[in-house]
């Protein structure tokens, strides 16, 4: 899972080392983008609730359950006075069934389990590349996506943070 590290306001880069991927539990990652303010507020709300579940029940939510809970939060928020506008990618490793999951979730509460996904302007390049790219060579293909966005997107961000989740848990990698 990769996200750029730029926090911009209008045309100005305010910060170049912002981490936009939260570790929700030992085997669960959430990348988020959207309205500044809403993103961090909602991500922290999710993070704390997932943690609370873990403390109460002594085991973590599985990726599918966490995805359903997050989707529901967004769907309820959508029909409130001021909805969160946050788009998410949720990636996790299910330690019970030993398989990886990736969920594409948008601010409306739309959810879909997919083999690969992207949000934002870069998605147009990344998705069409991934339609053909070899998904088995995960990190190499991911690098090609980032390179393509850097090459073709007018407002391409400089730095990316890349995190991997597998049976051993979460780790950050450099490309």
């Amino acid at each position: 899972m990769a996200a750029d590290t730029t926090a911009a306001r209008s045309i100005v880069k305010m910060k170049v080392d912002e981490d936009k991927i939260k570790t929700l539990s030992p085997h669960l990652l959430m990348a988020y983008s959207g309205e500044p303010g809403d993103t961090v507020q909602f991500a922290e709300y999710v993070e704390r609730n997932i943690r609370l579940y873990q403390i109460r029940n002594l085991y973590a939510l599985r990726p599918s359950a966490a995805a359903s809970w997050i989707r529901r939060s967004l769907a309820e928020s959508l029909r409130s006075r001021r909805p969160y506008s946050v788009n998410l990618l949720l990636g996790g490793y299910d330690t019970a069934t030993h398989d990886p999951h990736l969920y594409w979730i948008d601010y409306l509460g739309t959810i879909s389990e997919v083999p690969f996904a992207a949000h934002g302007y870069g998605s147009y390049f990344a998705l069409s590349l991934l339609d053909r790219g070899p998904l088995e060579e995960g990190l190499a293909t991911l690098k090609r996506c980032i390179d393509e966005v850097s090459k073709r997107l007018v407002v391409s961000p400089g730095n990316y943070k890349i995190k991997v989740v597998d049976k051993d848990g979460v780790r950050e990698v450099e490309l």
């Binding site: 409306l108 739309t110 879909s112 998605s123």
Partner: protein, 208 residues
């Protein structure tokens, strides 16, 4: 432009001889951008009722959860399985409860309902997004390709089709209609419900 067309997708249901069929495409999009080619919008309700939910994808999930809850409450209270006619009214009232802030879904139902003599007869129905029921005798359509589905179904459907012929009719209707619609397509799925079984098949369709 409309919120009903935001994610795309279409559903159709047809009546045959002692069988019904319901079919849908598998596309989930974000306006013109395709997100998933395996988005299920038809759900089993009981062993012989299937429900299709074309429209806004967030409401597909929300309405499915809500109907599952109300259906479980019904099944527990009544201590029996729901009949398709009753289920259609359950869907209708669930949607009308949100008359002035609706779920953007136009449900399509297909099932086999019990007759007084103990037999089973085919049943299909559809509603609009605020729950106005349409009990048709031949076929019902909904979704972004609904206008095309009407045209093709009108030309291909005939009364008293056997399960295999009904499968062919509904599959051809669906595929030819969604191929003319930019927001539907990317694969399809068909369920044929007969007296004693349900046949589910995925369709290999155009992926452009």
């Amino acid at each position: 432009m409309s919120i009903m067309d935001h994610n795309g997708g279409s559903v159709i249901a047809m009546v045959g001889k002692d069988c019904v069929a319901i079919a849908s495409d598998l596309r989930l999009g974000n306006q013109a951008l395709g997100i998933s080619s395996n988005f299920q919008r038809i759900f089993p309700v009981t062993d012989r009722i299937y429900l299709g939910l074309p429209g806004l994808a967030t409401d597909v999930a929300t309405l499915h959860e809500r109907l599952r809850f109300r259906l479980n409450m019904y099944t527990i209270k009544e201590e029996r399985e729901i009949e398709p006619e009753t289920f259609a009214h359950l869907v209708s009232s669930t949607l009308y409860e949100h008359r002035f802030g609706p779920y953007f879904i136009e449900p399509v139902m297909a099932g086999m309902s019990k007759t007084p003599s103990g037999g089973l007869k085919p049943f299909i129905a559809a509603t609009d997004l605020i729950g106005c029921l349409n009990f048709a005798k031949d076929f019902v359509v909904a979704g972004t390709a609904s206008s095309k589905l009407y045209g093709v179904a009108e030309g291909l459907w005939e009364p008293d089709l056997e399960p295999e012929d009904l499968f062919e009719t509904i599959s051809q209707t669906l595929m030819n209609a969604v191929d003319r619609d930019a927001f539907s397509g990317w694969g399809g799925i068909v369920h044929v419900i007969t007296k004693d079984k349900v046949i589910t098949r995925t369709l290999k369709a155009r992926m452009d």
